[in-house]
Amino acid sequence: MNISFKINGKAVTVDTDPMTPLLWVVRDELSLKGTKYGCGKALCGACSLHVDGELYRSCSLPVKYAENKNVTTIEGLSENENELHPVQQAWMDINVPQCGYCQPGFMMAAAKLIEEIPEPTDQDIKENISNICRCGTHPRIIKAVKKAAQLKQSQKVQSDE
């Protein structure tokens, strides 16, 4: 079955079983490898991406639900490499990743969080991001989310001026 949607601003059509998890379509049909497979059960968050601005764990979202929608993955989070999304900039500033495998999922969750809660406290971050990291980057993730929120605020101030 043909399913059309936009991914990172680009229109695509894939011919696939409509129940195929969006994750596999993004990774294997569209070759965007930044969205990771971790558990297949929406438990770990490594496959997190945005569909029409909402956060989803794409391992458990059949591709048919993306039809005619806008999908954003880690590759499309920043406008370009010189103008990083506040979350990716903060991740750079705090030197967050270790193995790096879970980080795209965390960053997608963080990007959504700072939209919902523009000035998150530690507690807000702890309660709202339930992704799993094995390397133990947790302390840096909390720091980086707060930093990202600040960067986003200051960008907003700049663009308002």
Binding site: Y37, C44, C102
Partner: protein, 726 residues
């Protein structure tokens, strides 16, 4: 599609033609071969040797190479050790840049393959990469710099001393050319004797704060892991291994699997069944449709495992016997303080499931994967497809976490076999359930500790016996090796000894033949042994009515350099963590320390009950790993060990029920999340001019320090991992 380099069969020496062909040139050859040849006899099981100077295991049996100078004057560093998050690529680049006289940014570190880089027999592990290659990397880099200088001297026809190497440029007075330029203009290379290395006092990079060199790709989502890799015409396969402990494949009904949309073939081999399909979804659906029957000799239960893994049931190897502990500690003596401890089976739970590409042709096989042990994989693949190892190339990738998982159960033999049968490239990938139920496990353990105290509250005699499964001997030396060694005193018994200056002390490890495959897990034996020993020490301190830190300091007085370094960090930690200030109401404090591969570490932990749940709220951690190459790299490892220590001690365990493992995915294997993140302070001390390990040692004090803090808060002693919290 991920880009894959075409492997190039390398030749001795260098030629202009080769440069033109590859837009890069190989620097290597005679002198490097000679240097690494020295290690040849020291490679056996090197990754697991814990109590001696860790050899790197790196050797050049072929004229392999480390560095390539690219046309844009960047330098490709083909690392024999793999990056799995521990930050060694950054440290390696810093060390190489130091002697190459280039900016760190000029160096690009990539994982070497089994044919294009220095052979690594030991694998990446044992917290040994930086420590074991600290001198080698600089010597190879210095040798290469000298080769470039000599070539420049020949080119300009001036004496060598007129040539300076700076910032990737060769300078003669006011004239200059880049390293890439001289490579283009050189036909014949001369190799110098290994040059003298820079003194530590003139290091430019070592000791400075550096961000990871793999930071940007990991932030942008561009870092490619093994499971992300594709090659043209690749098929996908999943493998069903025995669903029961000790299960033997009895019958296969694959009709439904074979008729699943997208499934190409079902392959039955020996004791596994593979479903090959055109995409992952079809492969997974096909696997779900398999109807398999297994012969199971014994249906194991957790109780059977607990009864098996018990002191007295195994083959004993003595690790330590000083003084006359046996005659002081008599079992019928009421003076003897006696406690038992247990740890559960553990799972690595690294986030990237294993994925292996195999492309097996008539006379050549290429394996692309993420492994901590290229040489073991090569051996296993060679056996599986009956091909000489010289025709097999193993290419490594970034590892989405290692923690010991990627020393074992490679999937590579299965992938190679499937590719051989199909005559097509295939990726075998594991789903999470397979990772949880058919990986390798941290063996469970049982510990008996006994002690007699003097009237002044000091330790008169102490003994520790640990019963546990194998962690690495079987892998390195086979079953026969295990029989010769008796027990895995190298990995599993690691940390069972006492560092303290007790007059009478002895330690044993007992090997238990477990029915479940077991292997190394971050910290190897140090994790369970550190828990048992340091909890017992805390219990003794309480018995002796002595502050737990003072109790330990009382027993650290000898001139042994490790003892001195341990004493030093404990004193610093005591003062910096506020240990001697009264704890606020509702706060429990605990302390523990550990020595691991010449790195000493200690932690002071605070716990509180929050909304009815005990949480670690503050960790002050101190580590002395000797020379620190990249402080932020060390800090990351310490933070990682703190979080993994919290996770493993508070939550993690998998158990056996009706012949299967209870944890099949993350929901059945609770782990630390952001909710568990405490306030953290990391203190670093450099007690030696040489670096020692840092990936694992900082985990040593975590479990006991937390358990001791819980006792301080609740009065309930934690003698099992994970903790039994009500």
């Amino acid at each position: 599609m991920s880009k894959e380099e075409t492997p190039e069969k390398k030749k001795k020496g260098f030629s202009r033609r080769k440069f033109l062909k590859n837009t890069g040139i190989v620097i290597g050859g005679g002198s490097l071969l000679l240097y690494f040849g020295r290690h040849k006899l020291r490679t056996f099981a090197a990754g697991f040797i814990a109590d001696m100077d860790l050899p790197s295991g790196v050797s050049n049996f072929d004229p392999d190479f480390w560095f390539e100078i690219m046309e844009d004057n960047t330098i490709l560093f083909k690392s024999p050790k793999v990056e799995m998050g521990q930050g060694i690529f950054t440290g390696f680049a810093m060390l190489a840049a130091e002697e190459l006289e280039v900016a760190i940014e000029q160096i690009k570190v990539v994982p070497g393959s089994s044919v294009n880089s220095a052979n690594d027999m030991a694998g990446t592990g044992g917290s040994g990469s930086t420590h074991s290659l600290y001198v080698s990397i600089r010597e190879v880099a210095a040798t290469m710099r000298e080769m470039l200088r000599m070539a420049a001297a020949d080119y300009w026809k001036v004496p060598l001393e007129d040539i300076r190497a700076e910032n990737g440029m060769l300078l003669k007075g006011s004239e200059s050319m880049s390293y890439a330029d001289i490579v283009k203009n050189t036909e014949q290379w001369k190799t110098p004797k290994t040059p003298d290395l820079k003194l530590a006092s003139s290091f430019k990079y070592v000791g400075t704060e550096r961000k990871r060199i793999d930071l940007k790709p990991k932030v942008m989502g561009d870092a490619i892991f093994a499971i992300d890799t594709e090659i043209p015409d690749m098929l996908y396969a999943v493998v069903q291994y025995p669903e029961y402990i000790g299960g033997k494949l009895k019958s296969v009904d694959s009709s439904e699997a074979e008729s699943t949309n997208g499934v190409i073939r079902v392959i039955r081999e020996d004791n596994w069944v593979a479903v090959v399909a055109k995409n992952r979804y079809a492969a997974e659906m096909g696997k779900k449709a398999l109807k398999l029957e297994w012969d199971v000799e014994k249906t194991w239960q957790q109780q059977d495992i607990d009864e098996l893994v018990k002191v007295g049931n195994g083959r004993t190897v003595k690790l330590q016997d000083k003084g006359s502990a046996s005659s002081v500690i008599k079992d019928d003596d009421i003076e003897v303080i006696h406690q038992e401890y247990r740890t559960s089976l553990g799972v690595h739970a690294q986030l990237e499931p294993n994925g292996v590409i195999a492309d097996v042709k008539e006379d050549k096989a290429v394996i692309i994967m993420g492994t901590q042990a290229i040489s073991f994989v090569k051996r296993a693949v060679s056996k599986a497809i009956n091909m000489s190892s010289g025709k097999i190339e193993i290419r490594n990738s970034f590892l989405g976490g290692g923690f010991g998982r990627r020393y074992f159960k490679f999937n590579a033999p299965e992938a190679a076999r499937i590719s051989q049968i199909l005559g097509k490239p295939v990726q075998v990938f594991r789903d999470r359930e397979s990772e949880f139920t058919d990986g390798y496990f941290r063996p469970s353990s049982h510990h008996e500790l006994k002690a007699v105290l003097n009237d002044d509250g000091t330790v008169k005699a102490i003994s520790h016996t640990q019963a546990t499964g194998d962690m690495g001997i079987k892998l390195a030396a086979g079953k026969m090796g295990m029989n010769i060694m008796g027990a895995d005193f190298i990995s599993a018994g690691h940390g069972a000894k006492f560092l303290y200056d007790f007059p009478n002390k002895k330690a044993y490890v007992e090997h238990i033949d477990m029915p479940i495959p077991t292997g190394i897990w971050r910290g190897v034996g140090m994790f369970p042994n550190g828990f048992a020993v340091e909890t017992f020490i805390d219990e003794l301190a309480r018995k002796a009515n002595t502050d737990p830190i003072e109790f330990r300091l009382k027993h650290l007085y000898s001139d042994d350099p490790i003892v001195k370094r341990m004493k030093n960090i404990i004193e610093i930690l005591r003062d910096r963590s506020g240990w001697n200030t009264p704890a606020p109401e509702g706060v429990g404090r605990g302390f523990a320390c550990g020595e691991d591969r010449k790195t000493v570490a200690a932690a002071a932990v605070e716990v509180q009950k929050i909304d009815g749940q005990i949480r670690v709220t503050k960790v002050t951690h101190i580590v002395d790993p000797g020379l620190v190459i990249n402080p932020d790299g060390v800090r990351q490892q310490v933070e990682g060990c703190i979080m993994m220590g919290i996770s493993a001690s508070m939550y993690e365990g998998t158990y056996v029920k009706d012949g299967q493992m209870t944890a099949t995915n993350y929901h059945q294997y609770p782990m630390a999340s952001l909710m568990d993140t405490p306030e953290i302070e990391v203190i670093m001390v450099e007690g030696s001019a040489k670096p020692s390990g840092v990936g694992e040692p900082p985990i040593a004090p975590m479990a006991p320090a937390i358990g001791n803090a819980i006792f301080d808060l609740t009065g309930e002693r934690q003698r099992k991992l994970p903790f039994q919290l009500t």
